[in-house]
Symmetry: D2
């Protein structure tokens, strides 16, 4: 959980409170962070995912549970997680990848994105 990329630029410009959505002069000094709306949306979806996982856990208490019913529910949870991923990915591309040449960290951003896409479900 403590996995941090270490790529977030340390020297945060104090006067750029929301640099991600305001890629103006000095934006390349900004801390790259997930925008608040996408962050809230991801939280909402992950709470639903947690509830869904709890539902599957209850299903599994039934000794008569049928394999395929479990498979369907796990697939549904994976679909919900994929939606989280896709939204975060889109926010990242929109807010940080398209501006990478301006900031001057294109190479790092590209390698990092390709790595993240490798595991795309």
């Amino acid at each position: 959980m403590s996995d941090t990329s270490g790529r977030r630029v340390a020297g945060v410009v104090a006067s750029v409170p929301d640099a991600a959505s305001v890629p103006a002069a000095g934006a390349h000094d900004a801390c790259l962070h997930l925008d608040p709306a996408t962050r809230a949306d991801a939280s909402r979806r992950l709470k639903s995912v947690r509830g869904h996982v709890e539902g599957v856990l209850r299903m599994l208490e039934d000794p008569d549970v049928y394999c395929v019913d479990v498979l369907k529910q796990v697939s549904a949870v994976q679909g919900a997680l994929r939606k989280v991923s896709d939204n975060v990915l889109k926010a990242h591309i929109r807010d940080h990848v398209v501006t990478a040449a301006q900031r001057g960290d294109a190479e790092v951003i590209v390698d990092e994105l390709m790595e993240a896409l490798k595991y795309k479900a």
Copy 2:
């Protein structure tokens, strides 16, 4: 969560003359359920998944969280769910699919399995 296949044999069907060839005595009477060991393993893994999801939720409370760190964690959760799926799938194939011709429900089992595999992440 209430998704049930309706295919699970509720009671003991005494007269299934359609068994493909030589159904072992009583084999077609069996209720198809996830075997206890795989069920316990799936529960254990899903509890870990729930904990992981809660970790990502805590991550998302940080306004400075970096998109790619979220993507990595969601990928890890998806990997854990895939392991659950793979184990349940293997149990299903081993316990129910390879015996379908004996039981006489091969057609339903095949369609159901292909449907489940369609969504395989």
Copy 3:
């Protein structure tokens, strides 16, 4: 291309010309082969895949070709191959997996199928 599983039973019973679809007594001695209709369908689809690949090769001769257009075409080819895979997989499950307990090679069939599914795109 010469990849063979070695699992095909060597001692083919000459008097069982289509053992895959006739899992009767002695069927576990039968050679497991892809049924003719699915085989013909796969050939037809793969010829179309080959033509599609040739189309992408021609696209790539254009120095002005746009990356995303190439990505779309490669995706389309992958979709076509997935259809081939799904059809062959379904034929395998229908003709060989559901009858494995009868033939007595369930363990090998299950491991082999799980291995094949691991790479399912």
Copy 4:
């Protein structure tokens, strides 16, 4: 094969040799094309894919071909195509996505990339 994005701008501005570092007016007029090295690499790989497909076609002429052997070969072809995709995707992100804010076509580039990633195998 005639799928074109319509987004490629025909009128190439000759005086923009390095748009990435000089996001001057008119930079968004640049023709976005797949770089020659990646294009040559993709061609080489696709010729190998075509040969592999022909090998599977020959396999399918054998009435005794085993389903799982076909599945393995189709998987191998899909893996080779995925490598083509990944290389073209990386070139696109490196050459066109990270510079989108400079060119001023970020919105189109993001939507297009998300669409392409949706079908990522």
